[in-house]
Symmetry: C2
Subunit: 272 residues, 2 copies
Amino acid sequence: MNLLLHFHLLVSAALLLSPSLAHDKFDSHVLPRPLSILEYQETPGILLSNELDREVRLLCDGWRFAVEANNLGPWKTVPSECAEYVREYVNGRGYGVDLEVVGKQGLEYAKGLALGGDGKDVWVFDVDETLLSNLPYYADHGYGLEAFNGLEFDKWLEKVKAPAIESSLKLYEELLRLGIKVFLLTGRSERHRSVTEENLRNAGYRNWDKLILRNLEDHGTTATVYKSKKRTEMVEEGYRIVGNSGDQWSDLLGASMSNRSFKLPNPMYYIS
Amino acid sequence: MNLLLHFHLLVSAALLLSPSLAHDKFDSHVLPRPLSILEYQETPGILLSNELDREVRLLCDGWRFAVEANNLGPWKTVPSECAEYVREYVNGRGYGVDLEVVGKQGLEYAKGLALGGDGKDVWVFDVDETLLSNLPYYADHGYGLEAFNGLEFDKWLEKVKAPAIESSLKLYEELLRLGIKVFLLTGRSERHRSVTEENLRNAGYRNWDKLILRNLEDHGTTATVYKSKKRTEMVEEGYRIVGNSGDQWSDLLGASMSNRSFKLPNPMYYIS
């Protein structure tokens, strides 16, 4: 990015986020009170555009850190001040690089494992935002700025158009090559089994050993409870969960946790 | 930051990180292979300084995300390419904002708790990089670029000069005001009890209910095992751990976990 373009983006950000707007909105329950530059600005309105941009980025970086480190309680939508920040992150290189780092870490960990060789070593993957990307859907719905709409999302899901997250596909294929079984554990409903299988195959995934979807009795519990129960069943069947990949902490925490888990980035939504 | 200063920093970064250095070092076990710009540069050496800067930042952002989301296995030192990035982060506003967001989240969560009113609600805090900052020590030791030296660190610790992390002090005081007991659970050794107490008091901390340090029998286990054991003892004594703050995942994961935990940022070191 050259300096002129950089400056252009700073000015655009300033137009989108006037100081007064930023001031009001940052004092929300999600973000801390506005910090020095915004708070103590003696002459509101003359804030330099790049300073504002920097301030918004710092606060949204802080918010994203809180999301990814599981510090936030349940949240429903991306804070409005961070809508542009999230859009830039997922469409720019940041998201891709973060996904690539976590995929690479999974690969190196898997290659170093001492496996049982008895077909009991398994890796658990979540599906949405872990193996498959719903970014085209979220692009049409404000990248998490709009509250989740299950009916709309189901329409998207039934189009079977979600592309693979490439770094996850690479990890997935290497796990199979190493002789590790792959279990897919998703919050999608049992009634979406065939579209889910079709989408996974379209995206290049093959030879999973189990695809576990929510059936009627599992509806109404949190993902943490549902996924813990299913992992515990795996362990009771004699499987060793050697790794677990998911974009939500509810994919990874709870009972029968894996020794090592891999949290993929997701600043667009939260599932309890 | 004005554009001239911004440009100056980009040029400085380029001087510090030549393309060939970045290329070699990024192909390490910690970071993914160098990405497009560095890898497919047709004429090495003419990489624009701001592109290189952007590339380094993206990769170090990815590394830091992996650290904070607990995706990395044990690591001993900050990757050398990210030394400058970490120095800037902890000395700049990024670290402070991230600390402030997590402190604020803790505060809001605590205020919303339905407390027992029987003196059994407790909040567990780690000490180093959670209540107290050892940044002055790490500033003299490459901000995590040097491998940890226990003897050197002990000398620093015995100086009792670690300042408070202000956002943690604010949370700490509010918890006491709400009637929540504070238990401090640290990897520091029992022989450092008095210097630790003195340092905590110097930094403004008062009225903790317990300060638990490692005694001889707890040496030689991981922090996760030691801290889990101590948390389980609290639960067995009838305490309810309503919150837990720490800068390491080993402060937060394991047995007798808190319902909500607060991971403070720390890109300088890792404790198993």
